[in-house]
Amino acid sequence: MADMMMNRRAFVGGSLAASALAALAGCGKKTDGGTTTGGTATDSANVLKFYINNPVAIDPYNTQESEGTQVEHVMFDALTDYDWNTNEIVPKAAEYWDVNDDATEFTFHLVEGATFHNGDPVDAASFKRGWERICDPNMTTPSEIRYHLDPDKGALEMAEGKATELTGVEAVDDYTLKVTLTAPMADFPYICAHPALVPVPQAALDDPEKFLVAPIDNGPFMIDGEWVADQYINLVRYDNYYGTPAAIDGIYFSIQKDPDTAFREFEAGNIDFTSIPSGRMSEISEKYGLSDDGYTVTPGAQVLTGAEASIYYLCVNCEDEVMKDPVIRNAISLAINRQNIIDTVFEGTRVPADCIFPKVIDDDPSNAWENSHYDLEAAAKMLDEKYPAGSDGKRGIKIKLSYNSGGGHEDIMSIIQGDLEKIGIEVQQESLEWAAYLDALGDGNYQIGRLGWIADYPTMDNFLYPNVLSTSENNYSKYVNAEVDKAMNDARQIVDDEERKAAYRKINQMVGADMPIIPVMFYSHNHVGSERLASFFYDAQGKAEFAVAELV
């Protein structure tokens, strides 16, 4: 900064440029007061500057999308954490936990002596308090993510206004939290790693308006000032953290509207981590170097392309006259040239999807569905018997391919249309605005649509249960298979990790044979970090590990 000011005098004498520089050099007075708590931690050079969009919420009771989660997950520590290196669930705010034989009762033993940054203890009651806020229908606006607590006894009753506390969650003593579920769920500790299921201090109830913009947390960073919508959120290191303190002094979340603008700020040296504008992957990879593992930024290896825990798929309306025939669904899946989509639209950075589980969730080679590869001949053959091709090559199958406009899906859908027309299926595209598109999907007023699924929890269950269980809200395909339903409920009871995984692999194959959804591709990171990042890990769920990040 000092250099800049000296250069300024040498370089320009004009008053405009001079005051421009004064502002840029940060030597002018800070005009907005009230956002610095006692120090200048966020002015320090050891602060990481990170681009986000304006979050929906950073108060854990309503943290839901990627941007809010990005901020909130470094502030709050949940009971458990998922380790992406070992693919295991590990302790965080809970030191260890016990589970009963049928996976309906979990007892978490909390780390003793941890505090919120206002000094309040992180005890079992604070967890119960945090979880109850999620179920409470009398919040200023009720939480939109109560479904995370669906497995918990008493969660629905509380939301219905029939109970005033969460009966399934019990503070046995200060540091023992007992959770009772309505049905067995061996994966429950994975759910407990979700950034929304965290403790809150009493202050959250006393002043909820304040807590929305300046939550008081128990994690390695705390908020500096408050969240200023569409501008910034500043976090600083919390020095009384019970775990290993962070290496960086703070994080400056720059809230931007447009990824292209954010990228220009990155080029101007003002942002340390951002996404790469579409179509510029190869050029930027060349300039900044590819990361070795796809998830870690180090100087000279700054571009991330690691696979994500999310899938892009076509959902098929199984109640539709045409699409209810599994033969057509399987033939369509065979006809789609997934690699071509990835090479043409995404410069080869994504991974073709051959089943419902992204590779980072489960990379068992036997997961691939029988008809999820590209084989035009097999696709045509499959249709020949029931739907013979006429002299013009058409088979009399007409389908409508619906998608939301403006999300970059046009190119993908046009390739799919071309593929399907090769096997004699007539395709019409229907591009709808997002709101109208959701209406159409929800009302079952579509034949084939597109959707993406981002894992809430890194479990196999989370890809199957919400999307293909016949009674699930998100079963847009209206897929009904009693055997699959039963197998999924059975799998949830298996406490042994390996056995449970094997059960889910079987369900994956059962679903694959029916093809209620057609997997297209697994998402990948397309992000770039600056040279200031000495070491920076960005996991498969798109959460940055700020607590262990280091700056040069």
């Binding site: 421009a20 840029l24 200023t140 109560r146 629905l156 939301a159 709101a435 929800g442 998100n474």
Partner: protein
């Protein structure tokens, strides 16, 4: 004059009610359920959906806030007219409701945070537009067919043809990145508020690029209108008379021609100012300006009706007031125009 202003203000009321009523009715016509949209493709669980609808008074509730059910056990939707009445009642109490998408944050707080930025940016842009536009227009009219005139015409044609957001991006690339690299960080202009630990939109250097971008197209139009108006006025008899009486060319232009030529220009600038106060979506997006335009755009696409209604309410009032001010300014510019019904001199 006072009578005229009061008459105009009373006329505001039916216009305002008409506009808001039409917009309110659109909530039921436009596809997309605002509550379902909160969750996006990951659906809300049914009980949460009911609780949210009750919170936002979209379904009938009893005095405890619990939803009232019909004989089939379904919730009852609050009719549109009831919601419109509570919107108007709220408005009279200074309450614009709560946002569906932003954790129930009051709309007045959301707009209150955004409007100052929009207003200041619009003000800077209008000053640029007035000075540069009127100045360039005058020069090119007075020095007609000179190199100046050709230059102004060329520049204005280019500006009119260039999309504002693209012009903005070019400026960012030049002032923010190219200059910074060339001068080794010694001189550059900020791109989007990133720089210090806070977005520094309070500081005036952050206004330069967005205001230039926002003003670009209108400045060009202003210059062209100014040029043609001034030329027309300069050709009129009374100007020739004034010159013949021995007044200097300068005096004639400043004292006699300019005021008369300004009327359409002021109209244009006034309307433009009104438009800018409604927010500038593209400029705000490119420069990450925390203004009201992007907020409204986001609210429309997410069907966050309270915010849409709130910003439209403000926009309608602002536009009506600005129109009134423009009309009043005519009287100052052209003494023949009077509003009180009596004949001009």
């Amino acid at each position: 004059m006072i009578k005229y202003i009061i008459k105009r203000i009373i006329q505001f009321i039916p216009v305002f009610l008409g506009v808001t009523l039409i917009l309110f009715a659109m909530q039921n016509i436009v596809p997309g359920d605002p509550i379902k949209l909160i969750a996006g493709e990951k659906k809300l669980d049914p009980q949460t959906e009911i609780n949210l609808r009750a919170t936002y008074h979209l379904i009938e509730t009893d005095e405890n806030g619990n939803p009232i059910l019909d004989e089939n056990g379904n919730t009852i939707e609050t009719p549109l007219w009831k919601r419109y009445i509570s919107y108007i009642t709220g408005l009279l109490h200074g309450d614009l409701g709560r946002s569906y998408q932003q954790n129930g944050k009051p709309v007045t707080a959301i707009l209150g945070q955004k409007y100052p930025y929009t207003f200041r940016l619009a003000l800077v842009a209008i000053v640029i537009e007035s000075i540069l536009g009127i100045g360039a227009g005058m020069i090119s009219a007075i020095k007609r067919y000179s190199a100046w005139d050709v230059g102004v015409t060329l520049v204005t044609s280019t500006m009119v043809a260039m999309p504002a957001f693209w012009f903005g991006m070019l400026q960012q690339l030049f002032w923010g990145i190219f200059l910074k690299n060339v001068t080794n960080g010694a001189f550059y202009l900020p791109i989007s508020g990133v720089g210090g630990p806070h977005a520094e939109f309070e500081n005036w250097v952050y206004y330069i690029l967005p205001a230039l971008t926002l003003a670009a197209v209108s400045t060009a139009y202003t210059a062209r209108i100014m040029r043609s108006q001034l030329l027309e006025v300069l050709n009129q008899d009374y100007i020739r008379t004034a010159r013949a009486k021995g007044l200097s060319r300068r005096a004639v232009i400043w004292r006699h021609a300019l005021k008369n030529a300004l009327i359409p220009v002021v109209t244009y600038i006034g309307m433009d100012f009104g438009g800018m106060l409604a927010g500038a979506i593209l400029t705000e997006t490119v420069f990450n300006w925390p203004g009201v335009g992007f907020e409204t755009y986001r609210a429309i696409s997410q069907r966050d009706w309270p915010i849409v209604m709130g910003s439209v309410t403000v926009i309608v009032i602002v536009v009506m007031v600005i129109n009134l001010l423009v009309d009043i300014s005519y009287a100052f510019l052209d003494p023949r125009i009077r509003f009180d019904g009596s004949k001009g001199e």
